[in-house]
Symmetry: D2
Subunit: 298 residues, 4 copies
């Protein structure tokens, strides 16, 4: 079990009309990622609400900010005890056995136009043995094709662009990997969190984007940009692609500052100190365990 202290601070200057916010900065609270303590501070005296997306476990902080400075500080202690499994034991789930709630992650989305990658994906990955190793092969392919480069992509950049221009950041790597998985009928989704142990060349700790792939009835973590240690990720939100998951969706005119993020492993009174490390096993923080599909049981 890994215990992490998380600290997120975001700052805005709101214009005279105020602005509505939908923030996804709360750590997901699942059976495998337990938020043991959390605290939210907003510098404005305004009502807020936290909506929980029961399907994904995402939590959304919603409020209407007043004109002027807005500072939000979220602190939490999170205990992550991943569901771990020998990666080679993981199998792809045939489409016929996928639960309905997972089917949408087979379909193309705004930034993951999997429909256009079908021929490519079949050619590159169609003959590989199915299972974890095939997903790994897709991840490695993306990592070979794309070079981590900042300031070359933007909020318009999609998997198509990244495939052509072969550069981008974690968001772009993730979109391309997702598109390729879906193109060979492997459900894949976009997940945001905080990174851990990122290469210091990339700057201070930051929000991170990675991929979850549905194998053997559960969503497993993949980190196509390879810039951080997956075991240290704290999951915030998950969705079809970056269109669904943003740490702050803002309706109004505001000036933004860069978020300030700290995520550090700390000692647990019972389990002691465990630092996240690269491991061979597959990791999941996901609760979703739908019943197996049983056609004859209709």
């Amino acid at each position: 079990m890994i215990k992490l202290n998380l600290n997120i601070e975001i700052n805005y200057l709101i214009d005279v009309n105020g602005a509505d916010f939908i923030c996804n900065i709360h750590a997901a609270n699942t059976h495998y990622q337990v938020v043991s303590m959390e605290n939210l501070h907003i510098n404005q005296s305004i009502p807020y609400r936290i909506d929980k997306d029961l399907k994904h476990g995402n939590r959304y902080l919603r409020f209407t900010a007043l004109p002027g400075p807005l500072k939000i500080i979220y602190t939490a202690t999170i205990e992550v005890a991943h569901y771990r499994i020998r990666s080679n034991d993981l199998m792809e789930v045939p489409v016929r056995n996928l639960p309905l709630s997972v089917i949408e992650y087979l379909y193309p989305s705004r930034y993951c136009q999997s429909d256009r990658f079908i021929r490519l994906a079949i050619k590159e990955f169609g003959n590989l043995p199915q299972g974890y190793s095939r997903v790994k092969a897709i991840q490695e392919w993306v990592r070979r094709q794309v070079t981590f480069t900042q300031n070359v992509s933007n909020s318009n950049t999609s998997a198509l662009d990244t495939f052509i221009e072969q550069q981008g950041i974690c968001r772009d790597f993730s979109h391309l990997m997702i598109a390729l998985c879906r193109a060979v009928n492997i459900p894949a989704r976009f997940t945001t969190g905080t990174d851990y142990g990122a290469n210091p060349c990339l700057g201070p700790p930051d929000f991170h984007a990675y991929v979850e792939v549905y194998l053997s009835g559960r969503w497993y973590i993949f980190d196509p940009s390879g810039t951080a240690i997956p075991m240290g990720f704290i999951r915030l939100g998950t969705g079809r692609d970056a269109a669904d998951v943003s740490f702050a969706t803002i309706f109004g005119n505001v000036q933004s500052q860069s978020p300030i993020i700290h995520a550090v492993a700390v000692e647990d009174s019972k389990f002691g100190f465990v630092a996240p490390y690269y491991c061979e096993e597959a990791l999941s923080t996901d609760d979703e365990r739908p019943l197996p599909y049983n056609p004859s049981g209709n």
Copy 2:
């Protein structure tokens, strides 16, 4: 109340490997669209299953087809008593009051890149009074810009393409209207059904694509292509755009024939015969009535 008899027949030739199907040809069963009788016939002796998407009411027929001919016949009697309201009474719901389940219909999707239309939509529609009339104005704008033309668009065609090339079919009109609604923060979704009373120039009855927009706490029907009588639509599925909703998603190699569809109004023993007609009121077949957002109740 309108009573409709629906008959859908779809035919395929499946190759030697068989094929998995996810069909959305069952009429949605809601409080306002009641399926009073239905029957499904598949020519192959195979197990099947019907999954229900609780969020939208979509029903998915799932099975694995054997090699050879496949014929599916779905017949149903549907009683549609729309929720009807004076359209001018309908108001937009401020983002802050939208239920979480509706928020995703504000975000861009595969074929509705609303993020790229924001400036345009604000310029064209930003100063109009909010409410039903604004949505109507968006629909009329789409109808003026786009000419109904068959065989010029395909499964790749998105709202961007339709906006530029200004031609397409019901699917394309719908994608463009949805993108523009979302661009001014009005939730909009893509709905499939069967048409009714379509201009005979457009050929025999067919599957149809139209739009549902969230106003005053409910999803209301809009038909941007204007090719049929909304009161006669039988809703099959709804989703973010055509990527989510297809009458048949097929995993495998098959040859397809055009579907054969009949939807006719029939006499009801109690209410008599009512033919669908163009009406001024707004229509909804949607059950979803989420509780109002109440921030102070946090």
Copy 3:
């Protein structure tokens, strides 16, 4: 006659491999834009060559830069006596009468995908009386649709993007206007020069991009971004779009600084001082006066 002193300074830092340059910073020398004096200074002792594109009058400075700092200073005195004509006298030239050398400016190019705008252009401009006023109407339409905004477009941005996102700089305005002209069979080309009298809000004098349209047998200046005084433009290069015309095309790795540009009207000993002003007449600096097309003369 307007006499202008032009001063262009560009600075680079060349890496250890050196770099090949093709610069288009020499003022075009035509019957109507006479370069009476010019001087080129390069800080490196390297051979160079000036190639002249006989079709357009563009002059290209070509050299191979050595590693280290590179400074190029071009100074010139230019006497511009535009070919001027009452704009309402200008007529469109039917395709059948266009000289072959002009035909390519009817075709789509990298950033001006006129083929995709045909329906739109016909709808918006197809019924307008042909001639100068129609081109003016296209220019005004672009100016209404697009808002001058810096730092939102880049070297990938095409007319399609500008049409959708409705913002950009002089390059983007020009691409969109060109695409729309070509879509209704009016030859249009992309021209670079130096601006004059630009709104000080837009910063210091800079390179400028504008449009030349072929009417009544000659290329006339249009300035869709409307940010400067066309009479003061000094033409450098012209081509199908920005892919063809760049003040510096560089093959190698270099660091760039912003160019420093001065263009000022000065007193002429004979004609005195004339400052550029907005005028109603149409202006051309173009020499090209092909013979009229005469089919029977074959």
Copy 4:
């Protein structure tokens, strides 16, 4: 020397307004491709004109068709004695030595967005030895990536689309190869002609699209789709991409029929009968032999 008889018949039905045509169905007449006899028949009694593009040797038949049926028959006897050279002797020409007239074939165009392929092309081909073998490697790469498939691409399809979807026809193969060549600074252009010896599975003889690449001071033929025998190609036109070169550019409303094309090798009284065959040597039909670039000669 190969002697070919060419017969092209094209048929249209012109609507009541007539239509302007610019046809490029005349064989190019160069030092290496000599048109020894030709005949043009138009069923309408209308004036026409043949414009010659001096730069490329393209010939354009221009006329205004009257309402009603239009039939054009072009017959010619063409003697092709390619400039032939051992392919391994061909070298790339450094940008600094390229003649100005060739430079435009380094730049991106409507269907060959070479600017977006730079990273990819450098990664795949940047480390290969320069020269003919590198161009060959690009051709082979395109042939491996793309599968010849009819009816999946259209007049909008660009190199980007073909790269992603990996299927298309000769036009699409050519656009992708051109884009990749330009991305590594090798001039490449789009050439149309008639095919010869095409795989009968692909249907009757047809217009063909292939590539010319500038090596060692001359344009050499490459056939990325590999569907026919290059030695039997009769060159009609050449340009930056398909936007520039069409066998018929039509301004007006017409109904088209498929062109009927015959190209057969025939016996020459002096040289006898030589059928085109696949050969190892590089082939050119191009006249253009610009003087070498000589910077010190400025």
